[in-house]
């Protein structure tokens, strides 16, 4: 426990004033603007939106500036802000099949209709520091080519035609919402996906990696990875129809996983799914792997006792705001708690010393 202690207000005010000064840094260096953060640190902005669970690039840029680039602190600011927003409603599910793709690749089909579109990727770069970026200069303009006009269908659709992959049963079932009701176990897949998409990237990555290293391995192929923008539509009661209320950038990953079959059902591939705000490729692949691992029960697989199969373990520890809140609270004053422990240890030591003395006295007497 920690107790309220009076005093320290002046120290706290002064600490915050110094924080503001340190945040600004050397004043002979130009101040960073929110637009610069939004445009030039876009992947940090994306991560804050994904884990803050609020799509608003300007707010995420502000949070990054305020937190001095500490992304978990920035996510905390966004989570706190979003609780102040009135909820206007729920959108219609976005149609990722109609995404305007910047990037779309498949590790399973070379000749996928729509092609392999690399987009603005770090893949195939040599990971050598580029000292040209240390000097100021204009970026070269990207080459262009005739744009595609036909839609880019999901790759799993082709597999579904052959029935060689499990179908995602289409439904309009009301999904759970962990911003409205606390998580309960067992959690259904809708709640698991909501939790994974806002979970800590590092944690989800570690869990996904554990499945690749053999803890509930599920043999994932990236069937498709796509990044781009989709329209968001919502029913407006006062209008009586749905309108587009904006656009969001998303990364979607569909994995094609190990198959199963039985005497009655022919072998069929299974699926994992990742969908994350922004260009968040690593996170969406990791999400798909963990989603697949957590589906062991509904797919009739064995519980191998792996961490990535344990939904309570995964979902209870993936939220970096909950985790950091509990972790960091132990640095706050625990004077009373510690005082009682101190008293206890002193008493035990005293008793132990007395016991030794008594023993010595007894031996001397004999």
């Amino acid at each position: 426990m920690y107790v309220a202690v009076k005093g320290g207000e002046r120290a706290i005010d002064n600490a915050h004033a110094w924080l503001a000064e340190e945040r600004r840094g050397d004043t002979s260096v130009a101040e960073l603007s929110l637009v610069q953060i939004r445009e030039q640190l876009a992947l940090a902005v994306n991560r804050v939106m994904a884990e803050g669970s609020l799509f608003d690039p300007d707010l995420a840029a502000l949070a990054i500036k305020q937190s001095r680039g500490d992304l978990i602190e920035a996510i905390f600011l966004i989570r706190a802000y979003r609780t102040t927003l009135p909820r206007f409603g729920y959108t219609l599910p976005v149609d990722t099949g109609a995404m305007a793709c910047d990037r779309r690749i498949s590790a399973t089909f070379k000749d996928a209709p729509g092609g392999q579109v690399l987009g603005p990727t770090f893949d195939y770069t040599h990971r050598l520091l580029d000292f040209k970026l240390a000097a100021e200069g204009e970026a070269a303009e990207a080459p262009t080519s005739a744009p595609r006009t036909e839609p880019t269908p999901h790759i799993t659709e082709f597999l579904q035609g052959e029935d060689i992959i499990e179908r995602e049963p289409m439904s309009e079932a009301q999904p759970g919402d962990l911003t409205r009701e606390p998580m309960a176990f067992p959690a259904d897949r809708s709640v698991r996906l909501q939790s994974l998409t806002r979970g800590d990237e590092g944690f989800i990555l570690g869990m996904a990696y554990s499945t690749q290293r053999g803890y509930a391995r599920n043999h994932a192929f990236v069937g498709e990875l796509r990044i781009g923008t989709v329209a968001v539509e919502m029913e407006i009661p006062e209008l009586g129809f749905a309108i587009k209320i904006g656009e969001v950038e998303l990364t979607e990953c569909e994995t094609v996983n190990q198959f199963k079959g039985s005497k009655t059902v022919p072998p069929q591939f299974t699926r994992g799914y990742g969908l994350v705000f922004g260009q968040s490729e690593r996170k969406s692949i990791a999400m798909a792997l963990v989603d697949r691992a957590l589906r062991w029960k509904e797919l009739g697989e064995d519980n191998l006792g792996a961490a990535a199969q344990d939904e309570e373990f995964v979902l209870s520890h993936s939220d970096n705001i909950q985790a950091t809140g509990f972790l960091e609270h132990i640095k706050l004053p625990h004077y009373v708690d510690f005082q009682s422990e101190l008293e206890l240890v002193r008493k035990l030591r005293r008793e132990a010393a007395e016991a030794v003395e008594q023993m010595a006295a007894k031996e001397a007497a004999e």
């Binding site: 009135p86 909820r87 409603g89 987009g119 744009p147 659709e157 969908l275």
Partner: protein, 150 residues
Amino acid sequence: MNTTISAKDRKAWMGLLASADDARLAELWRAFDHEPAFDWLRAPEAGGVMVRGRMGGSGAPFNLGEMTVTRCALSLADGTVGHGYVQGRSKAKAETAAKIDALMQTDAAETLRARVLIPLQEERAAAKEARASKAAATKVDFFTMVRGED
């Protein structure tokens, strides 16, 4: 008030306004130079909506995360009601969108369409095309592939 407006038309302009660039919309609206008298039915308020996705892209829905939206509703002197639902937190943008939504139901529609909506639409299409052209240039052409044209 024009009663022949279809839901499809209205959907189209409201959608265009929802994701329009704040500054560009403000600029076109100023240039249109017609501030109608109106009463608020609902003053602009910023809020969040929960965006949904589907499992596997095509299955059951789940909640993905929220986005910011600002909405308002107003009525013109002749009673025409306009709604603004725009992405982000700009109250000014929601107000402009609601005024345009209302005026698009009046005789001002054609001028407004020509001077605000069409420029927005064209710029948007051009921006989308520019992005799609860059994506197209990163499409892999496998030279070992046998094409089946002949």
